[in-house]
């Protein structure tokens, strides 16, 4: 078990309802977990709670069996690599330098990066198909290139788990598919991946397990087929949907237009 949250409760100051209440969530090695749900349902807060980045009112978050609050950030960064939804660098680094920053937790303030660090950075860039971007500055990258550079930096951390918050949000079909295929490959090589996403249909195709969050609570958890049902989604998103299947069983969600019925 890499990540483990039990009975997590988070309240933001000045907000009446809890952002997260009584949530259990976990991530094992070699597992792809998708976190889905409506806006403001607690997906990003869950990610932060698992990483010890927000104070917990109740419950406990553990990383590699230790309470996350007790783990120095540099040690945590060697176990889990997390990419928040937004990241706006103040200065235009080169992609190679940017990915090299993933080695920070391993190097400390002074140790120069050695051959093994450079090899890891190169490997990370190559796995993300970003080696040719290494001399470009990050302010010149397209949305897809930027996400690949960020995932490469996450891999340079040599983590056991990846936590990605809406990694495909700004990506077209090809780049979204490439990114998730890459994450799936990494999962096959033993990493755990927890991916927050609004793309229900991609979650259905890539995830081993889906956590459906709304109003700060887990509404459903299980395989895509167990979670992504017509009744549950219609209720949770407060919008009628139809669920069909693709390729013999993977659920695919079609939100209905006004006046459309489920059985044309």
């Amino acid at each position: 078990m890499i990540l483990e949250g039990r009975d997590l409760e988070v309240r933001y100051p000045g907000v009446g309802l809890p952002a997260l209440a009584g949530v259990d969530a976990w991530l094992r090695a070699g597992e792809f977990v998708a976190v889905v749900g409506p806006n403001g349902g607690g997906k990003t807060t869950l990610l932060r709670a698992l990483l010890g980045a927000v104070p917990l009112q109740r419950g406990e978050a553990k990383v590699a069996g230790l309470p996350v609050a007790s783990i120095p950030r540099a040690d945590l960064a060697q176990i889990v690599a997390a990419l928040p939804q937004r990241e706006e660098p103040a200065f235009a680094l080169r992609v190679g330098e940017f990915v090299q920053l993933g080695r920070y937790a391993h190097l400390g303030p002074f140790t120069p990066s050695g051959p093994s660090d450079r090899a890891l950075v190169r490997d990370a860039l190559e796995r993300c198909d970003a080696w040719t971007l290494r001399d470009r500055t990050i302010d010149t990258l397209s949305g897809g290139e930027w996400q690949r550079a960020r995932v490469a930096r996450a891999l340079a951390q040599a983590p056991r788990a990846l936590l990605l918050d809406e990694p495909t949000a700004a990506l077209d079909v090809r780049h979204a598919m490439e990114l998730l295929e890459l994450v799936r490959d990494l999962v096959a090589s033993g990493l755990g991946a927890l991916v927050v996403t609004h793309e229900l249909n991609l979650a259905a195709r890539f995830a081993d397990r889906v956590i459906l969050l709304a109003d700060g609570r887990v509404q459903a958890v299980g395989t895509p087929r167990e979670v992504l049902t017509q009744e549950t989604l219609t209720r949770v998103f407060d919008w009628p949907v139809a669920v069909t299947t693709w390729n013999g069983g993977t659920p695919q969600v079609v939100p209905l237009r006004r006046g459309e019925t489920r059985d044309p």
Binding site: A53, E88, L93, Y104, A105, F110
Partner: protein, 323 residues
């Protein structure tokens, strides 16, 4: 990269040589280097007692301001940050004017009061910028710096209007800054004070690389974000207050040098901070030399020269950035 470093070294060497050789009396560069090692040279006293401490102090102050500016720009993720931003300018000014209005001796009471005023203002900004959970919020720090400085400047202006004209001129000249008061004593004081906060900033270089990406990302990459922020704010405040006490407020070095060096060396702070130190130091020594000779025998405030050089350079850099 090696060529760029050589260029920087040459810049330092040239400005130091000119700083030692030019002034009210011009001394040939060859004579300067001889006077440094040979006690019998007739120029020995001028070089060793007046110009050498002035050039060394100028170099250290320029370097300190540049490193402080670079660090704050990364911390606040704001390229317009300069070392005086967090309330220091207003606080130092108020302290200095208060000391002059109360008739304190310019030699030590004014620098001491400016120093105390600067640190007092930063302490207030720091307290205002802390959330209830003890986090430092950069946006609030920025705003708190602006309003604190504004408030202190208002009191200072009132004091200046109420005091007589000679006092007012003294206060104004003192604040504009200059290395005219440099001596082995003031250099010694600065050398005792500055190394530790400077070392703290240099050791924070890699953490600043991460902070410049954003605080959440920096934390996930392994930085102890709050600790780094506290250290950087406290260190830059201690350094800048000491710089103000030594030479008044010298503008634009801390704003322009980090920009210029970032363009040449890239934004990674492991390289940026030491090179900015060297370039900022050399620039201030050069500006001080110009201030001494351009309208001899009157000395221009060095802040006027750094602004006259700094503003056009900054404008050109900005134009290139938005090209």
């Amino acid at each position: 990269m090696t060529r760029r470093l050589l260029f920087v070294a040459l810049f330092v060497l040239l400005t130091a040589t000119f700083g030692l050789s030019l002034g009210a009396v011009s001394i040939a560069p060859g004579e300067v280097w001889r006077a440094l090692v040979d006690g019998s040279s007739s120029y020995g006293p001028i070089i060793r007692q007046l110009r050498l401490p002035r050039v060394i102090l100028g170099f250290l102050l320029g370097g300190t301001l540049a490193v402080s500016g670079a660090s704050l720009q990364a911390l606040l993720r704001n390229p317009l940050a300069d070392p005086y931003l967090l309330g220091l300018s207003g606080g130092a000014g108020l302290g200095a004017v208060l000391a002059i209005a109360l008739g304190g001796p310019i030699a030590w009471a004014v620098p001491a009061a400016a120093f105390a005023g600067a640190l007092g203002a930063v302490a207030l900004v720091y307290a205002l910028g802390r959330t209830s959970s003890g986090r430092l919020e950069p946006r609030i720090l920025l705003l708190a710096g602006v309003v604190t400085s504004g408030f202190a400047t208002a009191i200072m202006t009132a004091l200046m209007v109420l005091s007589d004209a000679a006092e007012l001129r003294n206060a104004f000249l003192w604040l504009l800054g200059g290395l005219g008061r440099a001596s082995w004593q003031s250099l010694g004081l600065f050398l005792i004070w500055a190394p530790i906060p400077l070392l703290v900033l240099f050791t924070a270089a890699r953490s600043l690389d991460l902070l410049a990406l954003g605080e959440e990302t920096a934390g996930y990459l392994g930085a102890e974000v709050e600790r780094v922020k506290r250290r950087v704010v406290v260190s830059t405040a201690l350094l800048t207050a000491a710089a103000v006490a030594a030479a008044g407020m010298i503008g634009f070095v801390g704003l322009v040098v980090p920009h210029a060096v970032r363009r040449i060396m890239g934004p990674l702070h492991g390289r940026l901070l030491p090179i900015a130190f060297a370039v900022g130091g050399a620039l201030l020594v050069g500006a001080d030399t110009i201030a001494r000779v351009v309208v001899r025998p009157i000395e221009l405030p060095v802040g006027v020269v750094t602004a006259l050089i700094g503003v056009p350079v900054f404008a050109i850099l900005l134009r290139r950035e938005i090209r």
